[in-house]
Amino acid sequence: MAIEGLERIVGAHALFAGFGDEFLELVSGCASNVRFRAGEYLCREGDPADQIFMVRDGHVAQEIGAPGQGRMTFLTIGPNSVIGLAWLVPPYRWTYDARAQDDVRAISLDATCLRGKCDRDPALGYEVMKRFMPAIVKRLHDTRLQLLDVYGARS
């Protein structure tokens, strides 16, 4: 697909909505369209986190195995969400499996490419960081609620 088409799609995703044209062009240079059929894995625990998935359609379950408890889903996400916050933090490894719950269309950002561009252009790096921070904080906040086990607790 032409880069201009990708730029439009990347800019239409909630993650980069309103992002400046110049930066959007740089980010889109690392982007490609991907599709996953229901049941397919987007990533596996322990693999290098070399991609960021901006989900456009469909739902993705994030799964993890715990000794004695079997495998469980700890989060599902849908359109306009992002998978792959680990791209920012060394050693850049997936810490869970992500499986398509239904047919998924997403934009995949090449993490090495994006990190390189951000390192070379700190202004871009800062803008990209500002886009990822809210997702990270929201994830942290939600995880805290899950840890609090709010449905059983009295206070």
Partner: protein
């Protein structure tokens, strides 16, 4: 307009009547629903509760979880967490128990007329809001959008799953459920209940919200609703405190200047927030 019913004025509100369990339904482990009959029972308003007692063990407040439009059907859903609730939940069909009530105020469904209504329930909290859901659906034309967001710990702990499915199949109520975690094979949403708010459309300036669940979940839900633009005075929640008299005499259920049994249990967030924050200090 539904009226908040008080215990029979001829009777002493501190003296229980003898109620009988006519049907016992095991909902999920540790949670049972009782259909009961009680002498002189005149019905209730959504949101009210009864004091249910097991003789020789004790008495606790339990919300009424059935439809207010069927005054003959008295329904309670109880989770066994301690001595009294466990004794109650262990009662068999035909068993007798003590009942005082109904007590407390009602969900302000009248003020929600013509507005979007968002109901957020967590865990067992679906039981105390079920009467309001029945009311909204029975009087569906009185309200704009009706949305139910329900969160539970695990799929196996979700209450009233049959009814949830039936409501999901309707076109006049939007139902979204989530769990904190699930075994592989669960195809629904996993995440905190407040995350469901991000996926539903409502007009925050014209929304009334009814929230019921553990206090901490209600606090987070209220904050998320305020962040979404809903006025604190339009966010209603049902509070829980240990109770003895249930009629504003003993002070057992006091929260700052209010008695939960007499002034509540349903309060709006504008009033409740400073009280909760004060209590936390």
């Amino acid at each position: 307009m539904s009226t908040v019913l008080a215990p029979n004025p001829q009777a002493d509100p501190m003296v229980p009547v003898l109620a009988r369990i006519t049907r016992r339904i095991e909902e999920v482990p540790d949670v049972v629903t009782f259909e009961m009959e009680a002498p002189d029972w005149n019905g209730f308003a959504p949101g009210q509760f009864n004091m249910l007692g097991v003789f020789g063990v004790g008495e606790i407040p339990i919300s009424i979880s059935g439809p207010a439009s069927e005054p003959d059907r008295l329904v309670h859903t109880i989770r066994a967490v301690g001595p009294v609730s466990r004794a109650l939940a262990g009662l068999a069909e035909g068993a007798a128990l003590g009942l005082r009530g109904p007590f407390g105020n009602e969900w302000p469904v009248e003020t929600a007329r013509g507005r979007d209504v968002v109901v957020i329930a967590g865990g067992l909290g679906l039981a105390p809001v079920r009467p309001v859901l029945y009311h909204l659906l029975e009087n569906r034309n009185d309200f704009n959008k009706v949305i139910l967001l329900y969160g539970a710990r695990r799929p196996e702990e979700m209450l009233f799953t049959g009814e949830l499915s039936a409501w999901r199949a309707r076109f006049d109520i939007e139902v979204a459920v989530t769990v904190d975690h699930a075994a592989i094979g669960w195809h629904g949403h996993v995440g905190v209940v407040t995350s469901l708010l991000r996926n539903v459309g409502f007009d925050p300036a014209s929304t009334s919200a009814f929230v019921c669940g553990p206090e901490i979940m209600m606090r987070f839900a209220a904050r998320a609703l305020v962040d979404a633009g809903v006025a604190p005075g339009e966010i209603w929640m049902s509070m829980e405190r240990n109770m003895h008299c249930a009629i504003g005499l003993c002070g057992h259920c006091q929260l700052g200047p209010v008695f939960i049994c007499r002034d509540g249990p349903i309060f709006d967030w504008a009033r409740l927030k400073p009280l909760m924050m004060q209590e936390e200090l």
